[in-house]
């Protein structure tokens, strides 16, 4: 194996600090997702099964495989 390759291999798995710095676009996107999740949460109670407690209690399966 060449020296270059060895050096490349050594890098693997190590933290690359430059890449780890959050970039503003990602942060902006994250904020946007949060806002969108809020919208989804507004509607979620209508989607959830009624009588959640009862429904979850009754969900009993036979073990499988």
């Amino acid at each position: 194996m060449s020296q270059d390759k060895k050096r490349d291999l050594k890098k693997v798995g190590r933290r690359d600090d430059a890449a780890a710095t959050p970039n503003p676009d990602v942060l902006e996107k994250g904020k946007k997702i949060k806002e969108n999740i809020d919208k989804l949460l507004d509607e979620i109670d209508e989607v959830l099964e009624e009588n959640a407690e009862e429904f979850v209690k009754n969900y009993v399966q036979k073990g499988g495989e």
């Binding site: 194996m1 390759k5 490349d8 291999l9 693997v12 798995g13 933290r15 690359d16 890449a19 780890a20 990602v26 997702i33 949060k34 969108n36 999740i37 809020d38 919208k39 989804l40 949460l41 979620i44 989607v47 959830l48 099964e49 959640a52 407690e53 429904f55 979850v56 009754n58 969900y59 009993v60 399966q61 036979k62 073990g63 499988g64 495989e65």
Partner: protein
């Protein structure tokens, strides 16, 4: 690197609403028989070559082999035009993808299976009077009962099974950090948890065994290759969760296939032995920070991410020295990126990794309502994340809203419901079933039995999973107008 043949099996959970009587076996039978995308309802599953009692460690255990009567066989099995199998396994509907030669294709066929099950549900609702079904792609009822998601990787018989065991256990214990589907609470007498990474971790009680239903092992020893047994093994992986995320499914299967390849080709991960793998799989599942070290046998302490990075390092060397196809290079790059983010801030994977997607959704709901993790609405959301109904499933809602990343074109998934992959023996199986639906007496992974109008059916073995491809038999199938002419050409 030659492509690896692989496929998955998914057992689904079933809830029935509006009724007191719930017989899970009849429900599973009704669901499977409500399928509308099947070439023929008469084709039998050929159990001839099946024997799940053979152990890869070199012995056979006693037990009864499954050999249902023809009528019951038809009730339990639907052979799909896509080359896969829809069937009743115990008390659950189960779907096996056809054999695939690329990871992306397995994901596509697995997602197609979800849609097939959804179509079964719609059909069952229509015919079952007041009963209403709900089908879940998850692995537990939250009360100590688990059902499986199994991966199958074709491996050379020349690799000693115990070498695979030794090399893969630390990998399987830790890959849940990107492959876990997330679960509220704990079960099966495992330590308490508010929320954990894996659906299945609580159920693994031993290291290596043939069992799949009780005392589940991290490494399953079933030696049933469904192919030429002198050349192949089928590594039957039972330790994983069923994923909803396409990206997570792709990563889980792709990384596992890559790690198996490097072990097979003599790139072992050396000196990596966990002090207690059965305990570690549960500890990793409970460490949402991914910072807790795991004890190694030699006293070292490594985090789950570090163990995965150790495999990644060997995989990089393997691919650099032996070459890798574009898909493997893509998987390698994604794996590296995901480990990097997991070590730093797992919440950055809230569009890709199921346990993070689910946790963030549940946490947002908790923050909004001021409730806590023991609230029954949270348990409901944990279950409903896996609901296959497009209008009810929470993963489905996230997908529709654009909150999670996709890998596949939905059109390509729809196509996979009916068309077989072109590059494995599933092509031959699927095409035969479609072209001669009433003259395929039976079929299985490794056989097709043609009814050519004689007293004895003609059995064609399919012992080579990488043959029977469009390239090899496409022309032959196109040119054969009758099953007799196909069989005579095959025998020529």
């Amino acid at each position: 690197m030659t492509p690896r043949i692989l496929g998955t099996e998914t057992e689904f959970g079933v809830a029935v609403k509006d009724t007191a009587a719930q017989d899970p076996v009849s429900n599973a039978i009704l669901l499977v028989n409500s399928v509308d995308t099947v070439p023929s309802r008469n084709t039998l599953w050929d159990y001839e070559n099946e024997n799940p009692l053979v152990d890869a460690r070199g012995f056979e255990v006693e037990g009864e082999k499954e050999r249902p009567t023809p009528d019951y066989n038809r009730l339990l099995n639907k052979l799909l035009g896509n080359g896969g199998r829809l069937y009743v396994d115990g008390a659950h509907p189960e779907y096996s993808t056809p054999e695939c030669a690329s990871v992306r294709d397995v994901v596509r066929y697995e997602k197609a299976g979800e849609r097939i099950l959804e179509s079964c549900r719609v059909g069952a609702d229509r015919s079952a009077g007041g009963r209403r079904f709900v089908v879940y792609k998850n692995n537990t009822d939250g009360k100590g009962n688990s059902y499986g998601y199994h991966e199958n990787y074709l491996v050379s018989r020349s690799v000693p099974f115990m070498r695979l065991v030794a090399q893969l256990i630390p990998f399987f214990v830790t890959r849940q950090i990107y492959a876990g589907a997330g679960k509220v609470g704990a079960e099966n007498r495992a330590d308490p948890a508010q929320y954990q990474i894996s659906q299945r971790a609580d159920f693994f009680e031993v290291l290596v065994d043939l069992n799949t239903m009780v005392k589940r092992p991290i490494m399953n020893t079933r030696d049933e290759p469904h192919a030429d047994k002198t050349k192949y093994r089928r590594l039957h992986v039972i330790v994983g969760d069923a994923n909803m995320s396409e990206v997570a499914t792709y990563l889980k299967l792709g990384v596992t296939a890559l790690v198996i390849s490097m072990i097979e080709n003599g790139y072992p991960v050396k000196e990596l032995k966990l002090a207690d793998a059965v305990q570690a799989i549960k500890d990793v599942s409970r460490d949402l920070s991914l910072k807790q070290p795991i004890a190694m046998e030699d006293g070292r302490q490594w985090t789950a991410v570090q163990i995965q990075e150790y495999y990644l390092e060997t995989a990089h060397r393997y691919c650099a020295e032996r070459g890798a196809d574009p898909e493997m290079r893509d998987i390698l790059a994604r794996w590296e990126r995901v480990l990097h983010l997991l070590a730093r801030d797992p919440s950055q994977l809230s569009r890709e990794v199921d346990w993070v997607i689910k946790r963030d959704l549940l946490q947002s709901y908790i923050d909004r309502k001021g409730c806590d993790w023991t609230d029954s609405r949270i348990a409901m959301m944990d279950l409903q994340y896996h609901d296959l109904r497009p209008e009810k499933g929470l993963f489905s809602a996230l997908e529709k809203g654009g909150y999670v990343d996709r890998l596949l074109d939905p059109e390509a998934v729809a196509d996979a419901m009916v068309a077989p992959p072109s590059d494995t023996r599933a092509y031959f199986r699927g095409r035969c079933l479609q072209k001669f639906p009433e003259q395929i007496y039976a079929a299985s992974w490794a056989s097709i039995l043609f009814d050519v109008g004689q007293a004895v059916v003609k059995r064609i073995p399919l012992n080579e999973p990488a043959r029977g491809t469009k390239e090899l038999v496409g022309g032959l199938l196109d040119e054969s107008d009758t099953v007799e002419s196909l069989v005579s050409r095959l025998s020529a």
